[in-house]
Symmetry: C2
Subunit: 212 residues, 2 copies
Amino acid sequence: MTGREASKPYHHNDLRSALLEAAVGLIEETGADSLTLRSVAKRVGVSHTAPYRHFADLSELTAAVAAEGFHKLSAEFHPVRTDADIDPAQRLVELGVAYVRFAMKHPAHFRVMFREHQNKPDWLEEASQNAFQALLDTVSEGQAAGALAGTEAHEIAIPAWSIVHGLSALLVDGPRDKFMPEGAPFTEAGLALARSTVETFLHGAAAPRDSR
Amino acid sequence: MTGREASKPYHHNDLRSALLEAAVGLIEETGADSLTLRSVAKRVGVSHTAPYRHFADLSELTAAVAAEGFHKLSAEFHPVRTDADIDPAQRLVELGVAYVRFAMKHPAHFRVMFREHQNKPDWLEEASQNAFQALLDTVSEGQAAGALAGTEAHEIAIPAWSIVHGLSALLVDGPRDKFMPEGAPFTEAGLALARSTVETFLHGAAAPRDSR
DNA sequence: TACAAAAGTTTCCAGTGTCAACATCCAGGA
DNA sequence: TCCTGGATGTTGACACTGGAAACTTTTGTA
């Protein structure tokens, strides 16, 4: 004797995932600022307080999107990390390209990953740490192989992370028209830019002095 | 026959500036997400709709903070741009250091400058363009002087902006403890990191091959 | 001095996050 | 098989928010 008409079950069965997906969609469409818990719930077709069964509050939901982003980023890194055919210096370039590719493929995740999170949960901290560790390891290996400068991984890893992070941020939210040829397909042009940027980083911005 | 007790005048006389200042303070204290128009108004001691006499809506207020940020950034650039004693390659380094210094000195502005702005006003676009132009000019001059690689300013300017922007973003909102020695004073350590990062960018991350 | 525009206030409304109380469903032990 | 408790979802309420409208106070100026 409920008011419901057939089909729709009371339990969603995977509401958590559905909420995350809806949140990502809404962030892509209308920006992270205007994300509301109620709009997420509405998109999934569920009451406006249902999300509280899965997330303590709105900030935890966005934190979950962020963590998902870091996992996707690590996944994007993985093939580069395990391909034995890439030489150590080039591996750093490919890792950087993978970073930018991730940002362009998942702009909503990317935006949320590098926001202030008022109550940063441990699992978010850990997810981000894991991704950074992949970079640190790649750099260490490159240094051990004599292909990268320095002896301390941070010396290279921080500038490297900075440059791809900065480029990604500028590509995702910045003035695209200033950065790229007008008509070019966004992702392709972005990736080409990423590659040349990281290679500039590798070989230096200073004019070549002696060799060539 | 008003209810007011002496002193406080009906007109504030410079409410616009006061609102901007209050907004900056609140962003620093509680983050940009939790900035509310009412809290800004309250801090200034004014009714919650008074800001509408100066800003169309909340997003325009944050856009104004962002524009103010770009002006401060340009001001930070200025001495570097006009100091005749710096050689062209080093000037790029100093410009990068100035960028990071700005970000650390004005974290609230910085955060808001690189957010999505739903209705990006022209004056904001223009302010950001001006700052970027200073970098482009510096690079062009460096290239003309034969100190920087390439012939197209964008080739160097985009990676350069990326690297300092990325470092700044990571310093302002990222995991500081992962980046810096524990006890060190934040700004000094940050600036040292900025300098070494930009110099790495200038000379390349690859291990030196021939010379030395 | 009159008065219109500028600056600030009060009142109101719809939308939001979150809490508390309630309803429904599923799984496992009697 | 029943029945019962926890997990999941809903309804209703509350305080707070952005914003519109209509009002009041002040000030510059003809």
